[in-house]
C-alpha cells in the first residue's frame, strides 16, 4: 500500500517565553507564532486559506479570522481539550486531501500561568448546572486527583510501581535539560533543582493527589505556537523538507459503569491511525505522547500498542525512552509538558517537536528518525477525554 503523501507540515514555530506577564495576550502569541511559522515555511500571510483554532483567548472562531486579517475558505474550531491540535492537524490533512484547502494554519496562545489558572487543583467551579456538574461537583474532585485515580487503579490492576512511573519523568527531564528553551522555562517558572532528576527525586517530591507526586505533574506555563500544513504541491516548494502526515485516528471515551479506567480512547484511535498509515507502532522512532501526567504517558504507550496493556511499567524501565537509547521509541524529546511547555493545552507542541525530529533539527535528535507519532490526549483521563493520533513521516 502506497504511503499517503497528500499533506505535510511545512512550517513550525514555538513561542519561546513561558512567562509573558500582563502585557501580552493569547491572541498576540497566536499572531506572532503564525507569522513566524509561515516564514519558516517560506509562505506568505495571504497564502493561508484554512484556519484551525480552539477559540481560546477571546473572539471565538469568528474572532481569530478577524484578528489575523485572513479570509479562510475552510475553518475548523474543534476543541476537545489539549488534544485539539492533533484533531485539527488530522482534519487539515483530510481537507487538503479532499482539495478543500491548500495552506492550513493551526495556532495556539495561552496566558494560563500569568492568569494564575489553578487548572489542576481548583476543584469544582460555578456555572450553569448540567447532568455532569450535578453528579460530580459535590465530591471535591480536582483535575489532578482524577488522573491520580487512574494511576492508583493501574498500580492495583497491573502491579505498576511508582519507580516505573518515575522513569517517564526522568527521561523527559533529561531531554529538557538539552533544550535551552525548556531550561529557561524551568528558571522562569521557578522550578527547584533544575537538573536531571533521579527516582528518589520523583518519589520524594510532594504528593499533590495521592498517588501522583509533583514531579509527575506538568507545569502551567504561558506560551503557544503555530503549525502550517500544506498540500503536496505547496509542500514540494517549501523552504524546508516537508514532514508528511501519513495516518490519522480519533476517538473519545468516558466513565462508564463497567469500563476499565486504565484504558484510554487511544486504544481505539491508535490502531485506526497506524492502519491508516500502514505502519506498526514498533516502527515509530519518536513518540510525542501527551504528558499532562506520568500516568497519561503510561496509558498511551500501552493503548497505542507499543507494548501490551498493563506492561507499560517494564517497557519504560532501563532507559528505553531516551533519545540515544538503542531501543524504540524515544519519548518527548523537547522536554514535554513535565519539563518544557504546557500552557493548559499541549497538543501543538507534540506536532512541533515531531516535525523537528523528522527534519533533523531537535535538541535531542534521534539518529535517522524517519517516523514519528503525535498522540494528543485532552480532557480528563479516566473520565471524559479525547485521544487523537497523527502519524508523521520524514520526506
Amino acid at each position: 500500500m502506497a504511503q499517503k503523501r497528500d499533506a505535510a507540515i511545512v512550517g513550525i514555530y514555538e513561542y519561546p517565553l513561558r512567562v509573558v506577564g500582563p502585557g501580552v495576550s493569547s491572541l498576540q502569541i497566536k499572531a506572532e507564532s503564525a507569522a513566524k511559522a509561515l516564514e519558516d515555511a517560506g509562505l506568505d500571510w495571504k497564502d493561508v486559506d484554512g484556519i484551525f483554532d480552539t477559540a481560546e483567548g477571546g473572539g471565538g472562531g469568528l474572532g481569530i479570522a478577524e484578528y489575523l486579517g485572513l479570509n479562510p475558505t475552510y475553518i475548523d474550531t474543534t476543541a476537545l481539550g489539549g488534544s485539539s491540535f492533533e484533531f485539527q492537524a488530522n482534519h487539515a490533512a483530510q481537507a487538503i486531501a479532499a482539495g478543500k484547502c491548500n495552506v492550513a494554519l493551526l495556532s495556539y496562545g495561552s496566558t494560563s500561568h500569568s492568569d494564575m489558572n489553578a487548572i489542576g487543583t481548583a476543584g469544582p467551579g460555578a456555572g450553569r448546572p448540567n447532568i455532569f456538574t450535578n453528579m460530580e461537583n459535590p465530591w471535591g474532585l480536582t483535575l489532578i486527583s482524577g488522573y491520580a485515580m487512574v494511576k492508583e487503579r493501574h498500580k492495583f490492576q497491573y502491579g505498576t510501581t511508582d519507580e516505573q512511573f518515575a522513569a517517564i519523568s526522568i527521561a523527559t527531564r533529561r531531554h529538557a535539560m538539552r533544550n535551552p528553551e525548556a531550561v529557561q522555562a524551568m528558571h522562569d517558572l521557578e522550578f527547584v533543582d533544575i537538573r536531571e532528576i533521579t527516582t528518589e527525586d520523583v518519589l520524594d517530591s510532594r504528593v499533590i493527589a495521592y498517588p501522583l507526586h509533583l514531579l509527575e505533574c506538568c507545569m502551567i506555563s504561558d506560551g503557544g505556537g503555530a503549525v502550517v500544513i500544506a498540500s503536496a504541491d505547496v509542500a514540494r516548494n517549501a523552504k524546508k523538507k516537508p514532514v508528511w502526515i501519513i495516518g490519522t485516528g480519533e476517538a473519545t471515551k468516558y466513565r462508564d459503569n463497567t469500563a476499565d479506567i486504565t484504558v484510554s480512547a487511544g486504544a481505539q484511535s491508535g490502531p485506526i491511525a497506524f492502519g491508516d498509515a500502514g505502519v506498526a507502532p514498533s516502527e515509530i522512532d519518536v513518540l510525542m505522547a501527551y504528558d499532562s501526567f506520568s500516568i497519561t504517558v503510561m496509558t498511551l504507550i500501552e493503548d497505542l500498542g507499543f507494548c501490551a496493556k498493563g506492561e507499560g511499567g517494564a517497557f519504560v524501565e532501563d532507559g528505553r525512552l531516551n533519545f540515544d537509547s538503542l531501543l524504540k521509541p524515544t519519548l518527548n524529546t523537547d522536554g514535554g509538558g513535565l519539563s518544557s511547555n504546557h500552557p493548559g493545552m499541549r497538543g501543538i507542541f507534540l506536532l512541533l517537536e515531531a516535525t523537528r525530529q523528522l527534519r533533523g533539527e531537535s535538541t535531542s535528535q534521534v539518529v535517522d528518525a524517519q517516523l514519528a507519532c503525535a498522540v494528543g490526549n485532552g480532557g480528563q483521563l479516566g473520565a471524559r477525554h479525547s485521544t487523537a493520533v497523527t502519524v508523521l513521516a520524514a520526506d
Partner: protein, 138 residues
C-alpha cells in the same frame, strides 16, 4: 465556618429525581425496560439501546472501591478544612459506578485501598437540601 459544598442545582431534568430521593436517604439508579442495562448517571434514554423506557430502582448501598485518590490539601473554600480527603469511584453491587468520598478514615492514604467493601453513609446538607451519598469502609 466551612462553606457548604457545591450543591446540585435545579432545574436540571436528568438528575433531579436522583437527588430528590437522597432527601429520604434513598440511593437510586435506573434500568432499561427494553435491554435490562443499568443506567447511571440517570438520564431520559438508555445509552446502550436508546430506548426511552426506563425504571428507577433503589440500591442497597453496598459495593466495592474501584479506585480512589487522596487530595492532600484542597484550596477550594468548601474543601480546604477537610485536610487530606479521599475521592473515589465505588462500584455498587447492582452494577453502577459512582463518584463519591470515602469517609470515616483517619489516614486516607494508608487506610483506603482498591477492592475494599464499603456501605453508603449519608451526609445531610441541611434543611431543604439534598443528602450526599458518601461511603464508609465495612
Amino acid at each position: 465556618m466551612t462553606t457548604l459544598r457545591p450543591q446540585p442545582q435545579f432545574p436540571e431534568p436528568d438528575t433531579e429525581a436522583f437527588w430528590e430521593a437522597t432527601k429520604q436517604h434513598k440511593l437510586t439508579y435506573q434500568t432499561c425496560d427494553s435491554c435490562d442495562s443499568v443506567i447511571f448517571y440517570p438520564r431520559r434514554h438508555c445509552p446502550t439501546c436508546g430506548s426511552a423506557d426506563t425504571s428507577i430502582k433503589e440500591s442497597k448501598g453496598e459495593g466495592v472501591i474501584y479506585t480512589f485518590s487522596v487530595i492532600m490539601q484542597s484550596r477550594h473554600p468548601a474543601f480546604k478544612d477537610l485536610g487530606a480527603f479521599a475521592v473515589a469511584y465505588v462500584d455498587l453491587d447492582e452494577g453502577f459506578r459512582m463518584m463519591t468520598n470515602i469517609v470515616g478514615v483517619q489516614d486516607p492514604v494508608n487506610d483506603v485501598r482498591c477492592g475494599m467493601r464499603v456501605a453508603v453513609d449519608w451526609q445531610d446538607q441541611g434543611d431543604g437540601h439534598v443528602s450526599l451519598p458518601m461511603f464508609r469502609l465495612l
